[in-house]
Structure formats: C-alpha cells, structure tokens
C-alpha cells in the first residue's frame, strides 16, 4: 500500500491539489445537480459529435471529435465527456489513421491529462513566477535586444508538428526574426531524415504477400491502426482470402509475432537480405525456381527462397516494407523493389510529408547542438519533447542548454529539460488545447479541447503567439482565423462540419508515384545501412538495437501509470524496460532473465536487467527508450534504465561498437506471465491453411446454445451476449487492455504487487512460445472472463455474489462479495481479480475525475472481473426502450472490441441471426478454450492460421 502512495502523491503539491480539485469536484457535482456554468467546458463554442457510425456506442456521455498527435502525425479521436470531464477515448471512424480504432497510448493519454504530477505553475530559476512576467521577458520588444538584429540568437526547439497554425505562427516569427533557428525533434521515427520529404504509403488489404524487413507497420508508426486493419482484412475470411506475412527482424515486434514466416537475424543480415531481394527482382524477375543462397545461413536461405518464390508468383500483389532501422538506403531499396515488382501505384505510393521542415537537414537537432556549442544561442525556447532526456547522452544537450542565458521550457511536466532551463511554463494537454494537425496522409483535423487547462497550463499556440508579441492571443481565434485565411472550412457551417466529423474531408494529399528510385543507385552496392557492419566483421560482437518502447514510447508516457503497468506485448514486462537477448547469447554471456548486464560504448554506459527471449536474433541486444527518468514525475522516477545514455546518434538505431558483459547483479522483474509454453494444453490453437481447408465447411456443433432450460430461475432474455476473438488477427498491440482499464475503472497496483501476480487487468493478452527456442511458434490470446454458461465460479460462492443473468452474463455482485476467493480458485481461466488493498484510496482527486461514472469503483476485499461492459449493454437497452424499439445485438460494442485495430474481437447477441458473432461461430476455426471442462464459455476463439509457404507445399 505504501509503495502505491509513493506512486501517486507528490507531497509538496498536496494542499494545492486538494484545494483546486475540491473546487473542481464541487463544480462537477453542481453540474450534476443541474446548475450550469460550474463545469469546465471551454468558453468557446465546441460542437458535439453527432454523426455516429454504428460502431460507436451511443450513451449518456457526449462525444467530441479531436485529434491526438504523436511525432507530428495526427490520429482522429472521439472523446467521451461526462459533465465536462473527459472519461474515455475512442478512435474516430472517419479518420484515415484511426478507422475507429485506437492505440494503447491514445487510450492512456486520458490519464495523462489528469496526471497530478503535471506542471502547475510557471517557474523562473526555481521561483514561482507568472505568465505576464514570462511574456514580458520574451515579447519581441524585449527579446530583440538580446537575439541580435536578425534574431539569429533566438532558437526554437519543437516536437515534430504538422499543424498549419503552428506553421503560420512560425512564419510570423520568421518575419520578426529572419535569422531565427527552428528545429523539430523527436527520437522515434524518420521525421527529419534526408528524403523524408515524401512518405511511402501502402494498401496492405490488397496485398497477397507482405514482406517486412525489420519493419513493424502493424503496431508502430502513425499509420499502424490503418495498416493493422488492412492486414486483418486480408485474412479475415481465410476460406476465401488469406494473405501471407514475411518478417525478417532481430527482435520480435507485433508484426513479427503475426508473421507466417519469420526470420530472426541481425540488422546487417536484414540489410543484406533486402539487397539480395532487390538484386534478384531488378534483374527482371526473381529466380523463383530452386533454392537461393543468401550467404547468411540455412534459415536465411529458406526464408529468402520462399520470399522470392512468392514475389514471383504474386507479382503486383506483393508489398515490401523496410523499417526505420535500415535508414534511407533501406527505404530506397524497398521502394525500388516495389517499383520493380509492380506494386507501386496500386499498393504503394507516396505523399509529401505533412511535417514542418520535413527533409530539411537544417531543422535537425544536430544543428541546434552546433549552435549551442558555438555559443550562438542567446535565447532558447523548447516547446514539449523533453529533448534533454530524449536525445543521445553523448550530445550533452542539457549542458548546452544550461549555458544559454535566456531559456524557456514549455512542457507537460517539470522534467529533465526544465531542470536545464531558466524558465518553465506548464504546457496544456491536447485535450485542453485548440490546434490542428495533419494525419500521415495529410488529412487535416482540428484539435478541440474538452476541458480548460486543469493546472492553468498554456497552449502551444498561446506560447508561440506570445513570442510574436501577442501574449493575450486567444488560441481558438488564432486557429480559426488561420483556417479561414488558409481557406480551410472558411464558412461557419464548414467549420462546424469539421468539428463534428473531426476531419476536413478531401484534405488528404494527392498520391504520387514512389519517388525514391533516384537514391536507389546510391543505396545499392553499399553493404550495410547506416551504422551497419557486415556480420562477418564481428561474428561475436553484439549489435545493440534501439526502439521506442511499446508502452511509454520515447518517454512521453513514462508518468502514465496505465502504460507503466501495461505488459509489454513481447515480454509481458511491466514497470520498466529490459535488454532482450537470445537464449544462445544469454548463455554465452552467462546471464538469465533478471540478471543485470553492463553495456559500454565510447559514448556512454548503462546497466539494465535482461530478458531471455526465444526467437530473438543471436548477438543482438534490444533496448527500448523511455525509462530511467530523472524528472519530477513521481510515477516514472527510478523505473527502468535510460537507453538514451548509450544511443549513438539521432536517426541511428543500431550500435555495433558496444561491449556487453554480465554485471553480476539480479533484479526481480515485474513480468505478468512467468510460464511461456502452452505445455501441450493448446489453449491458443492454430493450424495451417491446408488443414483449415480440409476442415471447411465446419461440422455442425454437437451442443446447441443452452438457454438454461428447464432450470432458469432468472428467466431467459431476448439477448444472449457472446464474443468471438480471432486469434489470427490478434497482433498483441494491447490497445484492448488499456481500453478495458479506462472503461472499467480498473486500478493500477504498482510494481510490487505485479511481482506478486496481483495485476488487476480484466483483459490480459496471453503470449505463448512453443517449439524450437530459436524459431518458436508465437501464440497470442486475449484472455478475459469467458462468461461460462455453466460457470464454475458461480456455484462455489457461499453468498451468491457470482450469479448468472438472464442474458447470459456471468455477473459479479460487488456489494454482496465477502471475498472468499473460492471463485478465483475454481476459475479454469484465472480471469478473476481481487482487490488485495484499497487500490483507489491513494488516487489524487484529478485521477478520480478520470473514473467512468457508469462503473462501480470496487472497494477493498471484493472480487472483480470482465463484465462484457455490462454498463454499455444496459445503456443500449435503456436507449432502445426510450426509442420504443427492439435492441439489436450489434448496437453494443465492448471497450476492447471498439479499440481493437484489427477488429479481432467481435461482440453481439447469439439471438441476432446473421450477426458477425453468430456467423463467426460456424467457422471451422471456432473453438472454446478448455471445452472439455463443460463450462460452455460464451467467448469463443477462432484458431490462428499459419499461412507459411512451407506448409502449403507440404499440403
């Protein structure tokens, strides 16, 4: 309990918090009582999201469209708001980068809004100051005196942005300070790589074969939600159509786990294989017949042979994707291959990058570093991004910034960068800000706030306006007028339309042909991409590879407890990061999971516990960014290790010059799944396409749906709720887990209790590894309450707190539960969760505001578990009664199903013939986990199909 307190309360702020939040809560409650004007609705007129596609569950909450930006690319969201409190985030079905789905980070950004550790006051050199004082120091009339006549002393460091409004404000500033330096920086993504001015896009739904070279299109990057959906559509009905996914990568990614044929190999080998493919396709057609020798070993040969054969046999329906780690050359090669195999145009095209300064090397962080070293910076303004922490340790950016006479950091938290700056100004959360942003494909959205800044924070637009001398500028007016002057949605009606839909229709960029062939020449023939050395040079040397963390990304979410406690999709690790090693390499280094290794590079050194990961490439150590924080954030502080310390350079994600050795220490990692083999129990089934076709059409199920005749004391309702989960389309992204946590007020327990296996997630994603340790078969299985019709948990409850409803729900009556925990013991799926402590007692008042008012907050000592989002079911029932119509099963969508990017989760009523949940059960892939126990689960799974070419040939 105490550790939990430490997690969530920052003592020095408590009085402040309670006072503010008391007023806020008072406001909220009075609003409930019907008194207007006390909520925190923004003063401006924001418009409700009325065009509700069927996917969106209607309810009492109002829904507002806005946009979430990460690394500069926007994803459209729809946010539920209760009495002016944002309580749940969903994807915007109309937005090309969301299609109604959302990522774990987008879900969790809600909790970030309410983070009590967010900056609360403007600070100058450690003393509380005021907006006016700050503006007075930075207003042009004052600033000019120190930044030189052309303003060459003034430098701005922003996160990558695609906001037209920011662009226009920057132009305005350039008008005042022609010599001003503007830089855009975020560690992840190719934002400012040379050649980044145009971006490749894919249509994976039309592709029969997808070949990924160290790329993770399904779960990382600005288009992951769209790509995941497209990928899933290509295999949703395997009887009719089934695509094939090839992946060559050093460390597992979600895409790698979904692959039909995956090759584990070092980055240099990935590069080499890419070149082999290019070489073979560029010489008029791959040598589809016969085995190919790659020179990288048998596994690589077999993989390459299959890839080339499939490219040959599926010309025009193959997409090749190269990951960021391969650098521009890799991108160029992939583009060239796609051109050569006829994918370009139909499956692959390019659009200009929506990012400001894309492709302009002059806006790189390196340039700012040069200016700092030259002491050419007299005034520096950093807006967001926490560059001091997120930049390579060898850059010593903090020292540079400390030397600047006048520096300001504007950020969500008082973090490492604010520590290096004179001024700190709290930055408003995107749910508190007016703004705009473009999606990856250029689609333009308005960012509209749902609440006024909780902690009196300042919006990006405000800050930039203030730098231009307009400290009092109203962000809404700035954005709106900018749109008008730009000719977007000039009329009020058009504007309202954009606010309603969340997108400006037709604003996507026109598609261009693949524009990389120019650079192919330079790419081909060079062995090794940036920082890659041919393997043969150092067979035993260890490549250290870097990537943004799957949970806290580059560290921007490291103070968000939902993401800290979210199990990593690959390792199931919570509350920290670890270095991933292959079993063989771990043996060579003499370390096991939990043992700490010391990594040394010329640039720096770090210590981090390792996790031995089967299927990981030998001699590769995989690190993730975002941990080892030293800022003022109480959740993040002291969690994990900081990989930026040894990060060689921006844009380079491989370090080949590191030495790794055991440090002799051991840490008990907070991993939620300790046993990774299915142990011949086969809960997560899979089969080859051929086997599946043999089983199709499925034999009629023996048992009919039981409606509890004759003994149904609570009657039988018109709806019989059920769920189907397609394991073939689960990529493990874990959006459902956080969505469930947000929807159902699931508490965070903290690292100590996770180590004790007390995490509270109602929905977990089991991840099994079976077979050879070097090439295991990965099985992913979202596991939640199976809502058994003959539930073992129910009859053992002495007080009847676990009962069965007339519409087939396995109900948990919190108020009646005395906490014998017999139900959990008798649950074969172990999906029940127990409140070992009062996990909600320590929440800051702001965090309480994030709770969903439709869901009970459970007290200490009671059981809880997945309810099939019963609150959404009842809400739909009520609204259908209000409308005086029958409820359609498809009207209800659970939080997990709504968030799922691949639509692997289908929910509905078994009494709704033709609905997807009913038809899916007729599929030959449909099965019940532990069916032999006779629990008759209402959740059924569709077995995953492993569509490897090898299996096909055997068949």
């Amino acid at each position: 309990m105490t550790d939990y307190a430490a997690l969530f309360t920052s003592a020095q702020e408590m009085d402040e918090v309670s006072r503010r939040s008391f007023l806020k809560l008072l406001g909220a409650s009075m609003a409930l009582a019907g008194v207007d004007g006390c909520t925190r609705m923004p003063a401006e007129k924001i418009l409700q999201y009325v065009e509700q596609p069927p996917e969106v569950t209607p309810g009492v909450a109002s829904h507002y469209a806005t946009a979430f930006s990460m690394d500069g690319y926007a994803t459209g969201l729809v946010v539920d708001s209760h009495e002016g409190r944002p309580t749940k985030i969903e994807g915007n079905p109309l937005h090309p980068a969301s299609l109604g789905a959302s990522t774990a980070q987008q879900q969790a950004s809600l909790l970030q809004l309410y983070d009590p550790d967010r900056g609360r006051r403007i600070v100058q050199d450690g003393r509380a100051s005021s907006w006016d004082a700050w503006a007075a120091e930075w207003t042009p009339s004052v600033a000019r005196s120190r930044v030189g006549s052309r303003g060459e002393g003034l430098h701005l460091l922003l996160e990558p942005t695609s906001s037209p409004t920011v662009a226009s404000l920057l132009d305005k500033l350039r008008g005042m300070y022609p010599g001003m330096g503007v830089y855009f920086y975020s560690p992840a993504g190719p934002a400012t790589m040379p050649g980044g001015a145009s971006l490749a896009q894919y249509d994976l739904s039309a592709a029969d074969v997808i070949v990924c070279f160290d790329a993770d299109p399904l779960a990382t990057g600005p288009m992951s939600l769209a790509y995941a959906r497209q990928f899933a559509d290509g295999r949703r009905h395997p009887a009719t159509r089934m695509n094939r996914l090839y992946v060559a990568e050093p460390a597992y990614t979600c895409t790698g786990m979904a692959a039909d044929d995956r090759l584990r190999c070092r980055p240099a080998v990935v590069q080499g294989l890419l070149e082999r493919v290019y070489a073979s396709v560029s010489h008029g057609g791959a040598s589809g017949a016969g085995a190919v020798s790659s020179g990288f070993g048998d596994g690589a040969d077999a993989w390459l042979t299959n890839v080339l054969a499939d490219i040959e046999s599926h010309r025009g329906r193959v997409v090749v994707i190269a990951g960021d780690r391969l650098g521009p050359q890799g991108q160029a090669l992939a583009a060239a291959i796609n051109g050569a195999i006829g994918a370009t145009g139909s499956l692959v095209w390019t659009t200009p990058s929506p990012l400001l300064g894309a492709g302009d090397a002059g806006s790189n962080l390196a340039k700012l570093k040069e200016a700092l070293d030259a002491n050419a910076v007299s005034s520096l303004v950093c807006i967001g991004g926490n560059a001091v922490y997120r930049s390579p340790g060898s850059l010593r950016l903090g020292d540079g910034i400390r030397r600047v006479a006048h520096s300001t950091y504007v950020g969500l938290h008082a973090d490492e960068t604010s520590q290096a700056s004179h001024w700190y100004v709290p930055l408003a959360h995107y749910l508190e800000s007016w703004g705009d942003a473009r999606a990856y494909d250029g689609t333009l959205s308005v960012v509209q706030p749902l609440v006024q800044p909780l902690f009196g924070a300042r919006q990006e637009v405000e800050v930039l306006s203030a730098l231009a001398g307009e400290a009092a500028a109203d962000p809404f007016t700035v954005v709106r007028s900018n749109w008008q002057s730009a000719g977007h949605a000039a009329s009020d009606d058009a504007w309202s339309e954009v606010l309603r839909k969340g997108v400006l229709e037709g604003s996507a960029y026109p598609r261009g042909a693949s524009g990389r062939s120019d650079s192919v020449a330079s790419a081909v023939g060079r062995t090794g991409g940036p920082g890659l050395r041919p393997v043969e040079d150092h067979p035993d040397g260890i490549d250290v590879i870097f990537a943004a963390d799957a949970r806290v990304h580059d560290g921007r979410f490291s103070n968000t407890a939902w993401l800290q406690e979210l199990p990593d999709p690959i390792t199931k690790l919570t509350w920290g990061n670890a270095g991933l090693l292959s079993p063989a390499t771990a043996r060579r280094l003499g370390v096991a999971t939990g043992d700490v290794v010391a990594i040394e590079r010329a640039g720096g050194s770090m210590r981090i516990p390792v996790i031995v990961s089967p299927g990981h490439a030998d001699n590769v150590l995989a690190l993730s960014f975002g941990y080892g924080r030293a800022g003022a954030e109480s959740v993040a502080r002291g969690i994990g290790a900081n990989a930026y310390e040894i990060w060689p350079a921006v844009g380079t994600f491989v370090a080949t010059d590191a030495t790794v050795r055991s440090a002799g220490a051991h840490r008990q990692l907070a991993i939620t799944q300790s046993h990774w083999s299915m142990d011949a129990r086969d809960p997560a089934q899979s089969l080859s396409l051929a086997e599946y076709q043999r089983k199709t059409p499925a034999p009629a199920r023996k048992r009919q749906l039981s409606l509890y005749q004759p003994d149904a004391p609570n009657g039988v309702a018109a709806q019989q709720w059920a769920m189907t989960i397609d394991l073939g389309n689960c990529i493990g992204c874990s959006a459902c887990v956080v969505a469930c946590q947000a929807e159902n007020n699931i508490p965070v327990v903290g690292p100590d209790d996770v180590r004790k296996s007390r995490e509270m997630h109602w929905l977990r994603i089991d991840r099994y590894l079976d077979g050879a340790e070097n090439d295991p078969a990965v099985s992913l299985q979202p596991m939640l309450c199976q809502q058994c019709e003959k539930a073992p948990c129910e009859y053992v409850c002495p007080v009847g707190a676990a009962t069965h409803s007339a519409d087939g729900l396995n109900e948990m009556v919190y108020n009646r539960c005395v906490g014998t925990r017999f139900c959990s013991n008798n649950c074969p799926y172990k999906v029940r969760r127990f409140n070992w402590f009062d996990y909600n007692a320590e929440l800051a008042e702001t965090e309480r505001m994030a709770k969903n008012p439709d869901v009970t907050v459970r007290e200490r000592g009671v059981m809880e578990k997945c309810t099939f989002c019963v609150q959404r079911i009842r809400e739909a029932e009520i609204s259908s009664q209000v409308d005086g119509r029958a409820l359609r099963g498809s009207e209800v969508v659970t939080a997990c199903a709504q968030a799922c990017p691949t639509r692997a989760i289908v929910f509905g009523s078994l009494t709704d013939p033709g609905s997807e949940v009913v038809t899916s059960r007729a599929d030959a892939r449909a099965y019940q986990v532990l069916e032999e126990l006779g629990t008759e689960p209402r959740v059924q799974y569709l077995a995953r199909i492993r569509n490897a070419r090898a299996a096909e040939e055997q068949a």
């Binding site: 003994d711 004391p713 129910e794 676990a802 069965h804």
Partner: protein, 196 residues
Amino acid sequence: MRDRDWPAGSFAAEFADANALVAAVRSLRARGYSGIETYSPMPLPELDATLRFRKSRLPALVFVGGVAGGAISYFIQWYADVYAYPLNLGGRPVNAVTAFIIPTFEGTILGAALVAFFGLWFVLRLPTYWHSVFDLPGFERATVDRYWVAVSGEDARAGAEVTPNELRALGALRVVVLDGAEDAGAAGGVGLEGAR
C-alpha cells in the same frame, strides 16, 4: 427410585468402598426395602437392576431432537435457495438435494446433541445447588472415596430401631438420620452417633 429431599425418619449410611455398598444395597432390597438411593463418586451399573429405575425417556427425546434438527435445516436451505432467493448459479438445479444433504446431516446431529445435553439436566432437575444430603457430616467425601446409601423414612419397613441396626450390620461406618429439615439431619446424626 428418584432421590428427592428426604422425608423425616430417613436414614443414610456411609460405606468405605463400592463393593460393600453394592452388597449392602442388594441385601436391603432383599429384605424388602424399596425407598433406597445411593451416593457414589463413580457410576455403579451393578445396581441398575437392584434400584429399579424407570426406563429413561431420554433416547426418545434425542431421536425427536435429531429429526427436528434435520427437518429445520433442510427447510432453511429450501426456503433460502428455492423459495425466497432462487438464483441461476452455474446452471445448477435450484433445489440441489445432494448439496443440501450435508447441512441437513449436521442439523440432525446438532438437534439431537442439544436435546441429549439439556435433556439430561432437565430430567435430573439440575442445577440444584442445595440438597438435604449435602448437610450430612462428611458427605463431601461422597464425590471422592465414600459410598452412601439412603433409606426413605416413608418406606414401609423403615423403622427408627430396625433400619440403623441393619445398616450397621451390613458394614456401614456410621448411620445418620436423614431429614429434610435444615437442622434435624445434623442433630439426629449426632444423637445416633452418641447412641452408638
């Protein structure tokens, strides 16, 4: 016979050991005495036949108690889970006889045991903290190592001359007059001792 507060003219005799008492009681019975009662630190089943106790109703009461206990506990379960608060629990039958058997069994035993326990004290009229025999000098050893027999004054053969002599002849250490009256017992006792 059931020992009660003894009428005037009753006698009590103290014996040194159990065998002597048993022999004495048997011979008294043989001489036609009927109002006899013994006091001993241990049970003397040998005398059950001689003292002619009425058949005990306790076993019958206990049986009834058991049946009642069982019936009540099954009824509670039926009322709770079938009549008042029926629930669909794991699709199990609402009137789960097999499950209800166990508490029913326990209720049966409990009912019977309670009747046996309190029934005993009821038939023995205990607790009764005063009884005339407690006034007999030296009677406190009746729970330790001495064995007493009492003969009712209402007994046909009981006589102030005959009985004490007979008792002495049977080996009584001493014979005292046993009288319901507070003082008489002690006084009488002294008198007799003196006469000896």
